[in-house]
């Protein structure tokens, strides 16, 4: 494995785990969506760096483009859900929303 590929793969993995951990621990739904975006960044970077050593091939590029578009679409849908939840419960704290639902 080339050193720069290793660095990019490590960065991507770190971003992925940081994003997933922050989604779990965040007490604000908007910050959760930001953390989800960071996780998508990590996934894209890891996927991209895995194709750096391979001979020029469209497959990795197509996968990265697909991942970017799916990530953006999921984030847009998530933000729409957040606005709906906020209109109903007037808070963005998941624990508070759970308490109000009960």
């Amino acid at each position: 494995m080339q050193p720069d590929e290793t660095v990019l793969m490590a960065t991507g993995t770190a971003l992925l785990f940081l994003g997933i951990a922050s989604v779990s621990y965040s007490k604000n739904l908007i910050k959760s969506m930001m953390a989800f975006q960071v996780a998508v960044f990590g996934a894209n970077l890891s996927l991209f760096s895995s194709g750096l050593l391979a001979p020029p091939d469209l497959q990795i590029h197509v996968f990265v483009v697909l991942s970017i578009l799916v990530g953006a679409a999921v984030e847009a849908a998530g933000l729409a859900v957040i606005v709906t939840v906020y209109k109903k419960y007037r808070t963005l704290n998941p624990a508070e929303i759970r308490r109000l639902r009960a």
Binding site: V7, T11, L15, K31, M34, Y86
Partner: protein, 160 residues
């Protein structure tokens, strides 16, 4: 292949912006840091030869998704968007104007217009039309980028 020092620098900046975005108390600061991390990710893809994916990352995440996040923050009133960093705002505005003027000069002087022996990378072969007319696309992208940077500068300059 790009030197591993460049990879280290890019990875470090990317991690730093992401850490600021995740652990900042203010949502507006997180949004600005996330904007810059999107730009850095696009730069990473571009530096490693995938121009199309880099531009797509910048347009999608630094453009559309950042605007969506800003809209949701404004709708929910989660942040008052009062930062009050006037000097940072002025510096960012000056930097944006310098970048835009230099980009417009390079793009309109024909330096980037002709296919000067630079082979397009794999992903741009698919969109040969876009590759041939890339100076105009880049000019539009520079305009969009400048607008986004000025929006960030405006966000920084707000104070109570």
């Amino acid at each position: 292949m790009v030197s591993e020092y460049i990879a280290l620098a890019i990875g470090g900046v990317l991690l730093a912006t992401v850490l600021v975005a995740l652990f900042s108390k203010k949502v507006s600061i997180s949004l600005i840091a996330l904007f810059y991390s999107s730009i850095m990710l696009g730069v990473t893809f571009t530096v490693y030869g995938d121009t199309l994916v880099g531009l797509l990352t910048m347009v999608t995440f630094a453009g559309a998704v950042s605007v969506l996040l800003l809209s949701v923050i404004l709708i929910t009133g989660e942040s008052k968007l009062d930062i009050g960093a006037g000097r940072a705002s002025m510096g960012l505005t000056a930097l944006t104007i310098a970048v835009v003027v230099s980009c417009v000069y390079v793009l309109t002087s024909g330096l980037a217009g002709a296919p000067s022996g630079i082979l397009p990378d794999v992903s741009t072969v698919v969109m040969l039309f876009a590759w041939q007319y890339r100076p105009w696309d880049l000019l539009i992208l520079v305009t969009v980028f400048a607008s986004a940077m000025l929006a960030v500068a405006n966000l920084l300059s707000r104070s109570e």
